[in-house]
């Protein structure tokens, strides 16, 4: 059975979330952000700034006081977030149970795993450079004893994936090679092959000198197959339909499309 949620006040000055470059105007949006972006929520999320937003902008001093009472150190963060979401009632009991499970899942992760969890989440949201920043903290500087070579290789591959999404193939290749050096996985070698061909470079002797011709031919065929699939899917892309319209309509739609893509790209770089 359905229900209606009675909303609170809309803030005049929003709460800015730097990780996603978005602004939150209501307590319901804040709950939504917490629920769907748990990996992005760092230890400093419950702050004076957040309390000021809840107390003064949303005019919910009782909730702000309750958070203050609940929260004394970052170890109280999970219970405080749970309390906040329960208090607002935006989520049903069933959804809150699921949120509780995700809090437990997050709590079980050690330091480096939590950073990777956050970076993965940013990558999922297409914030590629932001994700790279977090990934790099795991593979540069002093080596953390809790990080295995396998973990490092996966992180390096993720960095390469981010650069690949940004079409920065040189950096992508650099990190793929580093990942391959760590793990020696054939899957990574094939990926190096794909990126090298895609960027129109020569295959590095260091990695492909010992590869048999049959294997290289197989990889080439696989590359062509995927290229063909991409081309056909491009034709089916709704964006391509714009070119079927009259020039006036097409111009308008193209303008809008370019603006959207620009905004998306700006987000990727943040």
């Amino acid at each position: 059975m359905g229900r209606y949620l009675l909303c609170g006040k809309e803030a005049e000055v929003p709460f800015e979330v730097e990780e996603l470059d978005i602004r939150l105007y209501t307590i319901e949006e804040l709950c939504y952000y917490i629920y769907h972006n748990l990996p992005l929520i760092g230890d400093d999320f419950i702050s004076e700034r957040l309390l000021h937003f809840i107390r003064n902008e949303l005019e919910m001093p009782e909730t702000a006081d309750k958070i203050e009472r609940f929260y004394s150190s970052p170890s109280d963060q999970d219970s405080t977030l749970f309390m906040l979401l329960s208090e607002v009632g935006y989520y049903t009991e069933y959804e809150m149970q699921e949120f509780q499970n995700r809090l437990v899942f997050r709590r079980r992760k050690n330091g480096p795993e939590r950073v990777r969890y956050k970076a993965d989440s940013m990558m999922e949201k297409k914030r590629y450079l932001g994700a790279v920043r977090y990934y790099k903290t795991l593979v540069t500087g002093e080596r953390d004893g809790r990080i295995s070579p396998q973990f490092t290789a996966e992180v390096l591959e993720s960095i390469a994936n981010c650069y690949g999404k940004l079409c920065q193939f040189e950096q992508a290749l650099e990190y793929l090679e580093k990942a391959y050096d760590q793990s020696g996985s054939e899957r990574l070698l094939k990926k190096i092959y794909d990126v090298t061909v895609l960027s129109g470079q020569e295959l590095p002797e260091k990695y492909f000198g010992t590869c048999s011709d049959a294997r290289l031919a197989e990889w080439q065929q696989s590359y062509w197959n995927r290229e063909a699939v991409c081309k056909s899917s491009l034709e089916e892309n709704p964006a391509m339909q714009m070119f079927l319209h009259t020039p006036e309509v097409m111009n308008e739609e193209l303008k809008q499309y370019v603006e959207e893509q620009k905004e998306l790209y700006r987000g990727m770089l943040e």
Partner: protein
């Protein structure tokens, strides 16, 4: 008590009257406009002086126009209702502009008499609650620099009810009646307190009487006799077998009723207490305005009359984990001032439901608005702005506006509007 005047402003179709409450006096005082035959009223006419930015109202406006000193517009309220215009010296003035100047000039007379310009509360009273007129009056008063919270409007019926309730209890222990005779016709008002309902209901109603006659007939002896006969029959027919505690007479037609209505007054005054009250509606408006200055009402009754709602409208929603009922309108509240705005988020809901319960009825009626005009979106990703307002005591309008869900889901321009008639 707050500083400033408490004003009752009777805005009729053809004339207006002003009363105000003065500290230390038991009853509201009436503003004397002139030393004419009826000094307590001023015609709703306005004249712009030729070549000057000066405005004149009432009798002096007519005189100035007759002498060629300016152009005149009369029956101002009718013009406002029709959203009319008038052109003076090549400049077009809207009815609202003219009403603004009229209100300004009429209040200046009061301010001059009282040596103050401060208004604590001003209550307008009009015969028909036409939303065009009401909105215009409010806008004009705001233009005059009066805060919205100090401006109120009620019907003549309600002003009469407040007037009677402010008299000695013995005058309204049973039914109280009023005959108001003016250029607009003859109106009969009846008021009583219904004690069988908790809380007690103070109920008043107005009836327009077809027997009404033009005031011009009072200029001839034959016309006076006819008017007397009409009124006598009217009283005999309407008050027969009714337990009347008090009867009132008002309106410029009743000014000289002792001259033309001897039979009618004889019938009316038999075993009844009868009063002729100048500015009855304006005085009632003053009493009603005083209510806004009290923490607890001086009238512990539900008010039921023209201009008051006779339904409760509720909406159920969740605040946190608790079910909460929002009371959007309650029995006895003024329809014009009943406006509600709130935001909701539907959770697995496709229809908005209001519970409407009429006074005296046990089970509420459910009124629904389907949300199908909104685009399909993920659950709980739409904040809807709900606005509820009345266009009369029997009709309310609901507007639903898609406000989106912050930057996660932008708002659309979709608005759903629905009008409900309460039968």
């Amino acid at each position: 008590m707050e500083k400033g005047l408490i004003i009752g402003y009777d805005l009729c179709k053809d004339y207006c009257r002003i009363s105000w409450f003065e500290e230390g006096r038991d009853e509201p005082q009436d503003l004397v406009f002139s030393d004419e035959e009826n000094p307590y009223l001023v015609q709703n006419s306005i004249c712009k002086k030729k070549g000057k930015d000066e405005w004149l109202i009432g009798q002096i406006a007519y005189e100035t126009a007759l002498l060629g000193g300016g152009a005149i517009v009369d029956k101002l309220l009718r013009m406002v209702a029709m959203k009319g215009f008038a052109t003076f010296e090549g400049v077009r003035y809207s009815a609202e502009d003219l009403l603004y100047h009229f209100l300004d000039e009429s209040l200046k007379l009061l301010f001059k008499a009282k040596n103050t310009t401060e208004i604590s509360q001003i209550m307008f009273t009009v015969q028909d609650l036409d939303s065009v007129v009401l909105d215009t009056v409010i806008r004009c008063m705001k233009r005059l620099g009066i805060e919205r919270k100090r401006i109120h409007i009620i019907s003549h019926t309600e002003a009469y009810l407040f007037f009677v309730l402010s008299q000695k209890r013995e005058l309204w222990s049973n039914i109280s009646v009023l005959y108001d005779l003016s250029g607009d016709g003859l109106n009969y008002y009846e008021m009583e307190v219904l004690r069988g309902i908790k809380p007690n209901v103070a109920y008043a109603k107005r009836t327009f009487l077809e027997e009404g006659f033009s005031l011009d007939i009072l200029n001839t002896p034959a016309g006076c006799r006819m008017a007397d006969s009409i009124m006598t029959k009217c009283v005999e027919r309407m008050l027969n077998k009714k337990l009347i505690s008090s009867a009132y007479l008002s309106g410029n037609g009743m000014d000289a009723c002792q001259k033309w209505g001897s039979s009618f007054l004889k019938v009316l005054c038999t075993r009844r207490r009868v009063f002729f009250i100048e500015n009855l509606f304006a005085k009632g408006a003053v009493y009603a305005a005083g209510e806004y200055l009290r923490d607890t009402s001086a009238y512990p009754y539900k008010i039921m009359c023209e201009g008051r709602i006779d339904v409760d409208i509720n909406f159920d929603g969740y605040k946190g984990m608790n079910l909460k009922t929002l009371n959007l309108a309650s029995v006895g509240s003024n329809w014009y001032e009943t406006k509600q705005s709130f935001d909701i988020i539907p959770d697995q809901e496709t229809t908005l439901r209001f519970r409407v319960r009429k006074l005296g009825e046990r089970s509420p009626l459910t009124l629904e608005i389907p949300l199908t005009d909104f685009d399909i979106r993920k659950n709980k990703m739409r904040r809807i702005g709900v606005n509820l307002s009345f266009s009369s005591e029997n009709e309310f309008n609901v507007t639903l506006k898609d406000k989106g869900f912050g930057e996660f889901c932008p708002a659309t321009d979709t608005v759903i509007r629905k009008t409900f008639t309460i039968s």
